[in-house]
Point group: C2
């Protein structure tokens, strides 16, 4: 309702170098947003309501409403990306990566939630499948899906991340590996509903000497991980629902463990056995994999909690800037310890930083969306984001992370990520 024709960019709207703008700052016509302005109002109304608006879909009744609505035919390219396509008929690992740069918000559609599968996706019959708690308990117990449906449930939004996410960045990756799928596609966010693991353990009666739970999946590889009893009694659950509906097969149908904030591999899918014991099982997935080699050749084991981390999803290297003007820089931040408290953004490779807007209410151990307006003047830029969680953990620079962890590391890469924008608007991953 104010006349914006005369509005110009005020220096006080700039909150950091190279075009980062305050949240007060919105598009105005002088800055040539991408909206097309018609010559005259009358002609415009004519054109839009009779002209190009009259596509086929406005002239004939539409399709029947579906029982289960699918995505549009025009969106069929928004799918998970596999480095090597899954190979049928044999036991092989495959990693389906979430296309974060094609999505928005914080919830990942269940069909696009990343997955790392070491023995394929079993087609489990929920009428037969059970989960058992046994070992150092007063009485072993087992439950089917219908049994668990009557238990006290919780609903929480949590991120899940493979500790191998962004591992290509420990070294200079090959050019085809710095696409966003490859650098950050192994993190997703969902609403999960299930039964607290503590409820089931309490019912079985855990021995005071118990220290670990060995979670074993019902897939053909019996994927197993050791979970500290303190975590199991804290916020772990046996999840039955993801984003409102029963968990899908790739995500562990009909039930999976969920260890909020822990590396994804511990949230064992198709869970069939929870064995209570006093020592970890030392399975393949906590010895030959998912351990962290240090400078001196020794390895960290059971480094389960995921670090504070963030990434800009837009602009990123699948998204080109076609003209100068206003853009929104937006991305995701998360921490395995708790809530995101702050996300800073830089457009000049870390020389100056501004606080981004963080969308609330912020959920603990969940993807959190951040945003900041950016005026791109057609000059080169390096875009970065840096997250801080409620415990004061700050996402490190790549230099600091490499100094601390060395180049032998493979998992738990979580440094600040850099996108360069060149003068033609091309975006690519760089080490800044």
């Amino acid at each position: 309702m104010t006349d914006k024709k005369t509005m110009i960019v005020d220096a006080t709207d700039q909150v950091a170098g190279n075009g980062l703008m305050s949240r007060r700052f919105f598009m105005n016509s002088a800055l040539a947003s991408t909206a097309v302005v018609a010559g005259g109002s009358a002609a415009f109304a004519q054109e839009t309501s009779v002209g190009e608006g009259q596509e086929d879909w406005t002239l004939y009744p539409g399709d029947d409403a579906p029982e289960y609505g699918d995505v549009s035919q025009f969106e069929k390219g928004r799918v998970k990306k596999f480095v090597a396509p899954p190979v049928g008929g044999r036991t092989a690992s495959s990693a389906g990566r979430t296309p974060l740069h094609m999505l928005h918000g914080t919830i990942t559609p269940s069909g696009l939630h990343f997955e790392v599968t070491h023995h394929g996706v079993p087609d489990v019959n929920p009428d037969i499948h059970k989960v058992v708690i046994h070992g150092m308990v007063d009485r072993p117990l087992k439950w089917g899906v219908e049994d668990l449906e009557n238990y006290p449930t919780v609903t929480r939004q949590y991120f899940m991340e493979c500790s191998g996410n962004t591992r290509v960045n420990w070294a200079q990756p090959k050019p085809d590996q710095n696409f966003m799928y490859m650098t950050h596609g192994l993190v997703s966010g969902s609403e999960w509903t299930g039964v607290p693991l503590s409820t089931l353990l309490d019912e079985a009666g855990v021995s005071p000497d118990a220290k670990w739970i060995i979670a074993e999946g019902g897939d053909s590889g019996s994927l197993s991980r050791s979970i500290p009893i303190e975590k199991a009694m804290d916020d772990s659950m046996v999840a039955l629902y993801q984003n409102g509906e029963r968990i899908r097969p790739s995500q562990g149908y009909p039930m999976r463990v969920l260890n909020p904030g822990f590396e994804g591999n511990t949230s064992v899918k198709w869970i069939r056995s929870l064995y209570v014991t006093d020592k970890p099982v030392m399975s393949r997935f906590e010895t030959s994999k998912y351990t962290d080699k240090l400078h001196d050749g020794k390895s960290l084991q059971f480094s389960l909690e995921m670090d504070v981390k963030s990434v800009i999803t837009r602009p990123s290297n699948a998204i080109e800037l076609k003209k100068k003007g206003m853009y929104e820089i937006t991305g995701l931040a998360w921490s395995g310890k708790g809530k995101i408290a702050k996300v800073e953004v830089s457009a000049d490779g870390g020389r100056t930083w501004a606080d981004a807007m963080v969308e609330g209410p912020v959920h603990s151990k969940m993807l959190t969306r951040f945003r900041i307006p950016w005026m791109w003047k057609g000059m080169p830029a390096v875009l970065q984001s840096r997250a801080t969680d409620e415990f004061g953990q700050v996402q490190p620079s790549r230099k600091a992370l490499l100094a601390a962890r060395g180049k032998k590391a493979y998992y738990h890469y979580h440094a600040v990520h850099s996108w360069s924008v060149n003068a033609r608007g091309k975006v690519r991953h760089v080490y800044a």
Copy 2:
């Protein structure tokens, strides 16, 4: 870690009549939860790890991981319900209802979000489709999907409800109409991401004399609704994403208006025109439909804000109690005005009430999940829930609502809902 074999129900755990229990109260073996207790631990381990656990899916590698994961073959019955099946080839209204009793949590999967479609589902090409703002503005503007992608966005979780939801309860419905689909299937919840409508209106420059926005859809019926300018400048958006991915066709692909907390019909799908004016358009959907007839024969018009409301989704009449013991009573509460502050539950038809646990963080104008443990002793019960929002609005009894609104009413039914449980565990809808 305590011995629960000797635990009995303590009267202090009861928080209201007929078995409503405190949150401290969990299952224990004396109360015969549905878990099967094995005879001996060794035999049990044998049985579970070698015996029935050895289904096909544990013996052979699973299927290839999919590019877009679908629901399990065992869950294909969880779909929307249509009163009359959609009829192809002609313009007819159809209402696809969300199966709330088959879902859990607060997010509705996008494919199961309810829809009321008056002219079918158009298959809109996002490369052609535009939305225009014109009328009483300084300069008419139009935007395609790619244009809006660069604008400042917001991500919010909101419920959407048809004002006709639960309308069958104004009168005694036919027996086949009191199934949960029919009484409450026209409300759903999602995470929406889009551009605030105020941003677009500001850019167009709205006249100080403007009072309404006429939103018109790109379907063949050009469905139109008048939106007060105050709402449009408050929290309305043009949404592009639902639950992380582009909106699906049934929900308005590629863009729709979203008026949080308002009756669903105002959130115009396939939005193509936003006409700024000083009076409402008096379209079919705000004259012959979506008005509220009163005792004296006059009608309320533009009763847009949805009321405070709740419903128990479990147990409900598709869910039978197969044996005495512990159950969770759970459901959803929402208010078009803001956040849910409190949900009370009764197991004795409203004689006594207890506060249910409300899952946080509570989002404004979003479905909110509530829960309370319930010990069913095999006696008849009448289960009810009653929501209160942050502004102190309380969900009315059916008697009070009928007294206030009369039996000529058709929309905006929001009274306390009652499920009776008989001695055999059958659940059905009653007027209590």
